[in-house]
Structures are given as C-alpha cells and as structure tokens.
Symmetry: C2
Subunit: 212 residues, 2 copies
Amino acid sequence: MCGVLRASTTREPVRRLRPRGPLLTAIPREDTLFPGVPAALPARDRHAKECAVSDRAFQDYYPDDVAHCYGCGRLNEHGHRIRSFWDGEETVCRFEPRPFHTASPGFVYGGLIASLIDCHGTGTAAAAAYRAEQRAMDTEPPLRYVTASLHVDYLKPTPLGVVLEVRARIREVKGRKVVVTATLAADGQVTARGEVVAVRMPEEMMQRARAE
Amino acid sequence: MCGVLRASTTREPVRRLRPRGPLLTAIPREDTLFPGVPAALPARDRHAKECAVSDRAFQDYYPDDVAHCYGCGRLNEHGHRIRSFWDGEETVCRFEPRPFHTASPGFVYGGLIASLIDCHGTGTAAAAAYRAEQRAMDTEPPLRYVTASLHVDYLKPTPLGVVLEVRARIREVKGRKVVVTATLAADGQVTARGEVVAVRMPEEMMQRARAE
C-alpha cells in the first residue's frame, strides 16, 4: 500500500507552487536515443497505478530549475528519470535497468545501483523535510536536496532483466540535513544496502539553476 | 608522468593472454546514440598520448567475457568506457562528462561521480593485484574485480564542462580483497573523495559471463 502525503496535517494555509512542468506520463514511450531498446517506464507506471492516492512522484514536485538531474530530473530526456513515492513510513522507487546497464553479462551495473540509491535518497530526503514541516510538496518554499555522502554495500550480484525496487527509510531529519537508509531488491531479494546523507541544495547551485 | 606496469619485475615466464578484443582507439569518434553530442573520448586519448610508456589502459586487459561493464567495459558501446592508468604509485583516469550528465545546471551528476570512482577503483584493484603478484596484466590467470562497497563524500559541487580527473591509491591488498581510496578533481580542485572495497569477481559471475 502506498502512503499518503501528509497534506491533511498542514496547520496553516500555504501558497501552492505553479505547475512544475510536464509530468513523466507526458513523456513518449519511444526512446529516440536508444532505438529498439525498451524504455524503463513500465515499471514506474505500474507503481503509479498501484498508488491510488497519488500518481505524482516526489520528483514531479521539483522546481523546473532543478529538475534536470541525470538520475531523477523529469526534464532530463537522456536520464534515468526515477520516480519515488511514499509507502507508509517507507519510500519506494521501482526501476527497470536497460539491457546495457550491465556489470558483467546478466547482472546490473553497480554504478547504476549507486545512482538509484543516491537519487531515491535525495528524493526521500526532500519528502521527509516536507513531512517534518507538515506541509505538502506543492507548497512554497520548495525543498531540494543534494548528496553529501553516499555509501553502498553490494551484498550479492543483482540480476538484470527484472524490476528493481529501492526502499528507503528516514533515519534523521536535522536542520538542513536528512539521513536516509535504503535497500535495493531484485525478485524480492535484497542485493544492496545504502545510506545517503542529503543536505539542502546549496544556494550557489540554486542561483546558478535559476540563472540558466 | 605515467607509471610503468611492473612487467620487468616478473620472476617467472608467464603465458600471455590472447588478444583482448578491440582497443578503445578502434572505437569511432562519432557516437551514433547521441547525435550532435560530442563523445567523451578526447580526454582519454589525450591521457593515452601523455603516457608514453603504454597506451593500454587497465580495462584493455579485461577478458572479453567481462568487458561489458557500463562504466568501464570497452565492449559496452553505450557505456562510459573509462580508461585507467598507472601514474607512479597512483592511478589516474580522466573523463569528460557529457552535457546531459547534470545534477543541476552547470554541475556534474553525483551518480556519475560515484560511477567513475567505482569503476576506476575496481580497475585499480585489478592492476594492484597484478602488481602484488609481480606479473603483467596480459598474463594468465586474468584478475577481475567487483565492488563490495563504495563510499563517496561530495565535498563541493563539481563543475560541468571540464575534464574530470580521478586519482586512486591502494590502501590494502589482502587475499581476494583490495581497498582503494580515490579523489575526483575538476580544474585542479578536489570535489569528491571516495573509497572502494573491491573483491575478486565471484565465480558465479565469471561462469555466467563465459556462458553468454
């Protein structure tokens, strides 16, 4: 079951953000960059359907200026465009690697695993920060997180050809920092564990993003 | 100055491996997947030219069966195909991210930074293991490493549009394990630090790679 964004607990009226650009659902299924290679969308769409509460991922709320991340930016047409959702007290992201995301034949590339944990971690950090402030993700000011440190333990080889599930839990929300732990599973077996220390995006990055 | 592979210290005659498939230099400059986007080859080629001792990277010695890694496999046409070399007691890898490898506009995606440290780390682990056995990298049996754990500290935003330099040092070579520390620099400024614990590739992966 997917969790509910705690908008109902908001105490004060909050200003809603302007629409945040096109949602992932508007992106065509055909990947023009990789002809003949299926895009990784079905797994994400399936999850969105399972989430009757909301079909908007955390990343759908990122301001346009900072929605170009190769891992999780919905506006980066060449990127992974991962999507993360609440599922009770956990968050979840499902992603199907492409056939060429290999470590050795038949197994998933570890750098992709690190990337999924990383971006799902920063997305989870943002969502957790909104929760901590008891407001919905479409309210001002926007909260966007970047990675201060990333740790991944690769427990066993991760098979390619199945949907991967990254689950995260919030360990700590303190000031501008959020610590998130995560597991990555394939076919129900946890193959990697990780920890992300995320911090509020530095003003330098925000300013540059707005200027471009 | 680039270091020398310690072939000269080999004590016993060793059987040379068969040729390991095409070198990176045989790969065309044009990237058919990303028309209009320059490939990341120039930085690597420049480094190869600087290395008068050898223009073969660690990854050029990987057996064909296990040379498909998205990060460092020379046979993965969609991957990063990083190249690593000795430089004295350190190893070095230079890589120019593509324009879409963004975190936010103007800065490099953290997942790519993790991937570079990861793959340069496993390449360094392999090279270190050959050194420890006092034999050249084109001798049997081949040594191939995978990541047991990866840690990255992101010290500051990494600017996009310049060649990144990953430098690694060997902290420990013990049994099937090699521990490598690394820095990543842009324009001479270190922007990330990492540690890779690499282990000899599990037999399960080797067998599957040979079978495919």
